[in-house]
């Protein structure tokens, strides 16, 4: 992947012409999200970097920048057709560089990075990407389940590069969510069932040991926010977010929709669309037919626990009750915890 000085605007042309700038500004307004106030120096610096990347050589532009996300673990700023992401401060820079390289080696599966290696800005590793159109959060019914399944099947079937691909960090992410629950809301009434369900998981799913068989390249954090159309707005769907990409059990990538379905949140039709498309594309995480749950059970339990832990921590911090989408997760954890004494072998 060669770096692209033009910033990778959707049509690949340089963004110098007046018409282009007008288009950029319109796009910016469409994408102008509310601007949260958390990071002090990082956001302006990130904005300057993404602007410079978007308009290599241009002296001034009227675009401004749109903040797409500003969370403790990631700040994402867009300028015209270019997006810069500042990764979490505790990111391992070498592992991130490997993950970016893996994504660059999977065109048609992952959004191609604009720069082959991350840069450092205010102590944060920063990566550059072309802008892609996300799934409309107001219209989850338009979720591209078939496309998501097809991309995952291709990712899971891709040969694993021989040198130093990091482990998929889904289990580590789940462990972090549970650690935050332990410190943030240990006395919440829902903490007991969530921690009970966590205790019943095998050690690999809690990131205490490596996976039993690291077999495939995995995304590690699949949800509907991880898909964009590129070139925007109508190009093919691609995966984004390499932070958890690595080798592991590919069932992890199917397990979040599986968990939503099992908790009664995702209609069975949508789950079946996703599962059927994954199988049709030759995805190796589940058997081609028959019951997929022996393969999905552990990761789906882990992701149910992770999502429930996040929900309980957030609800406790906001001093609000669990909502109608969060309670079924805690209920599922309670059922898992209740099953523990009669677990196989016990």
């Amino acid at each position: 992947m060669k770096p692209r000085g033009d910033g990778g605007a959707a049509d690949g042309k340089n963004a110098g012409a007046a018409g282009e700038l007008r288009r950029h500004c319109r796009v910016r307004e469409e994408g102008a999200y509310p601007h949260p106030v958390t990071t002090d120096a990082l956001l302006p610096a990130l904005a300057a970097r993404v602007r410079a990347t978007a308009h290599a050589g241009a002296r001034a532009c009227p675009c401004g920048a749109a903040t797409l996300a500003d969370r403790p673990d990631a700040s994402v700023v867009r300028h015209a057709g270019t997006v810069a992401k500042a990764h979490a401060p505790d990111t391992d820079p070498a592992a991130l560089a490997r993950r970016v390289a893996v994504a660059a080696g999977l065109p048609g599966v992952f959004l191609p990075p604009l720069a082959p290696t991350p840069v450092t800005l205010h102590g944060r590793p920063v990566t550059f990407w072309p802008y892609g159109t996300p799934v409309d959060p107001e219209d989850p019914d338009a979720a591209p389940w078939e496309a998501a399944a097809g991309l995952l099947a291709r990712l899971h079937r891709a040969p694993v590069p021989e040198e130093g691909v990091p482990a998929m960090s889904g289990p580590a992410k789940a462990a972090r969510a549970v650690a935050r629950l332990r410190t943030g809301a240990p006395h919440h009434p829902a903490a007991g069932p969530v921690l009970g369900a966590w205790a019943g998981l095998p050690s690999w799913a809690r990131a205490e040991t490596g996976p039993p068989a690291a077999t495939a390249l995995c995304h590690g954090d699949l949800h509907l926010g991880q898909l964009v159309r590129h070139p925007a707005p109508a190009g093919p769907w691609l995966l984004i977010d390499v932070d958890d990409l690595g080798t592991g059990d590919p069932a992890w990538d199917l397990a979040r929709p599986a968990a939503w379905y099992a908790c009664g949140l995702l209609p069975p039709e949508e789950w079946q669309r996703f599962l059927t498309a994954y199988r049709a594309a030759g995805g190796p995480a589940v058997p081609a037919d028959g019951d997929p749950w022996p393969a999905l059970d552990v990761p789906a339990r882990a992701l149910t626990v992770q999502t429930a832990a996040r929900a309980v921590t957030k609800a406790a911090a906001a001093d609000r009750p669990l909502d109608e989408a969060e309670l079924p997760l805690v209920d599922a954890c309670a059922r898992m915890a209740a099953m523990r004494p009669s677990a196989p072998g016990g």
Binding site: A262, C263, P268, L296
Partner: protein, 97 residues
């Protein structure tokens, strides 16, 4: 023909190709040579082609072995937490880690 036991008249019936004489008085049945074997054979064929006994009553609409044991009790069909309108909270959850 008269019943050898009570001497009442016997009536002939044909059941699946087997001739059966039944007494109109005592309801006794007279079988010719080989008719018992024919009936037995027919009974065996009937058992083989009959549908298997119904499985133990599974909850309605619960897709067998297609959902984990810890799943929502009615998560398989229609009674889940989704409805005609997808919940706002779940809509948000679809997009977050």
């Amino acid at each position: 023909m008269q019943c050898p036991k009570c001497h009442a008249p016997m009536h002939t019936y044909n059941r699946n190709g087997v001739q059966i004489e039944q007494c109109s008085g005592c309801r006794g049945i007279f079988l010719d040579y080989g008719e018992l074997e024919s009936l037995t054979r027919l009974e065996a064929q009937w058992s083989q082609s009959a549908p298997p006994p119904a499985p133990p009553a599974a909850p309605q609409g619960y897709p067998a072995a297609q959902q984990p044991a810890w799943g929502a009790p009615h998560g398989g069909h229609g009674h889940g937490h989704y409805g005609h309108h997808r919940q706002k909270g779940f809509g948000r959850m679809l997009f977050s880690s």
